[in-house]
Amino acid sequence: MTPVGMALLTFGLMLVLMALRTPIAVAMFVAGALGYGAQAGWPPLSSFLNHQAFARFASYDLSVIPLFILMGHLAAHGGISKALFAFASAVMSRFQGGLAMAAVLASAAFGSICGSSVATAATITSVALPEMRRHGYSGRLATGTLAAGGTLGILIPPSVPLVVYAILAEQNIAKLFAAALLPGLIAMLGYMAAIAVYVRWVPGHAPERRAEADREPLDARAWVGMVPIALIFSLVFGGIYGGFFTPTEGAAVGVAPTLVAAWLQRELTWAKLAQCFYATAEGSAMIFLIFLGADLMNASLALTQLPNQLAALVLGWGWAPLVVVAAILLLYVVLGSVMDELSMLLLTIPIFFPLINSLDFGLPQESVAIWFGILVLMTVGFGMLAPPVGLNVYVVNRLAKDVPIAESYRGVLPFLVSDTLRLLLLVCFPGISLWLVGFVR
């Protein structure tokens, strides 16, 4: 069989297994193992498997992932989000659609200590959805906002997909986090703008502007809600960029104050701590199993030489570099609509990254790698919202029992427009992503 035929066969087997409801990680594992064994022989496969679980699980670089996930769940269960949303709604109460904007602001703030979009969406939904419905927001706007706001969990550092990209592309995590900050803030403002435009153009989804007397005052009590998050964020990122500890250590250092903050709020019981551990177990084990599956799939694909051939083929077309980037991003949007985002990154970055590296954008190679990472992160966020399988939309919709899923998908449309505009902006102006990186030593 030709190498290309082999690659297509393993890829096809993987897709068939996925379509038949095999867990994505296991579909990659099975197809990859069979492909690898058929090409390299079974003894090499066996010795690969002997050390693979150890090599992937007991990895210092990857330890940030379970730690950031634990930190997010501690923050979610620790009663930090309630006071945070109260603060956000006090800030935003003067605008029409203010509670929706507050949900976006709270999601962004929560995202600054949480690296997962699903966790952010679920956390902010639990505090913001009842308030929004009580004030007469439509299910469409409320769930759309919360699903979109959730993606700020990964767009604003720390970010699990960005950590995965950093490891795959062998880039500095601290620099990637710095690069993500401005685009993340632009995402937040873009979502707020989307709400402002939407409530004006399509009446009936948000109540009229609230009277002066009805607004929550932005007083000292409200500001207190922002304090724990601000402290934890400054400690973690101040420490990382001040050179006191590495990003990997930063994740561990961040867990401690989050635990203390939750304990001080008198919200964290032993039972809730156990819940945090269970949630961390689900989130982390899932990701690491995907790592294992993608490892085998990539090893098998690498044997077919397909990645190299693809790079040579695309280079041979002589397209402009920006066109290649646009084509890759478009492919991500399509793939992301049926596949989960981490598997997509793990399978495609080893193929696309060398290709991107061989193109000339008139920028240093490291800058290109960082800029491309941010673009990839944005399309991942897109995939979390876009139908037919927007994970965030599902998560939020499950918590809003009276809202049909079709309404929620309609609700995310304005935010997808905002996402698209932001992606174009970041493609055209790499400087937005690269400016802050210049300050990282």
């Binding site: 990895s59 561990a252 269970y278 961390t280 084990a285 899932m286 596949m339």
Partner: protein, 157 residues
């Protein structure tokens, strides 16, 4: 199933405690380094070791909760009975993969024991980590196997 559930919970709690221990150790190390200039050589190796154990210990609970992501887009219109059957086949594949991993990790551990491999700075023996990973991987296989055998809601018994 009660026993499997309890074991999976215990594993997850143990793993969570391991992560908390990493946190405490890293904080101590960071404080020591920045305040007193005292470095804990090889602390990152312990982080790696503890993460490895924690991740393996997280697996059983994740499988018990069917936390591994599936694509349900293509089967969204299938009958409940078909979906339940596919999910059982999926669980069977998970069980096979986990059993394979447990077996190969056991062999890898024996190998590490034989050639005395360990971490660079502290010399922490690798076989300990392998040995700690095998039981939770086996438990995960067992849970998935049990799920493959148990009829699900919507299925004719």
């Amino acid at each position: 199933m009660r026993a499997l559930d309890t074991l999976a919970r215990l594993c997850a709690l143990l793993a969570g405690s391991l992560l908390t221990a990493i946190t405490v150790m890293t904080c101590a190390s960071v404080l020591g380094r920045n305040l007193f200039g005292a470095t804990l050589a090889g602390d990152f190796e312990l982080t790696g070791v503890a993460t490895g154990l924690a991740i393996a210990l997280f697996m059983p609970w994740c499988q018990l909760r069917r936390g591994n992501i599936i694509v349900d887009f293509f089967t969204s219109r299938a009958r409940p009975g078909t979906i339940a059957l596919l999910d059982r086949l999926g669980a069977l594949l998970v069980a096979t993969v986990m059993a394979l991993l447990a077996w190969r990790t056991l062999l890898g551990g024996l190998n590490a024991w034989g050639n005395h491999s360990g971490s660079m700075l502290m010399g922490f023996p690798d076989w300990v980590v392998y040995a700690g990973m095998v039981p939770p991987l086996m438990l995960t296989a067992l849970i998935a196997f049990y799920q493959a055998l148990t009829p699900l809601a919507g299925e004719a018994p």
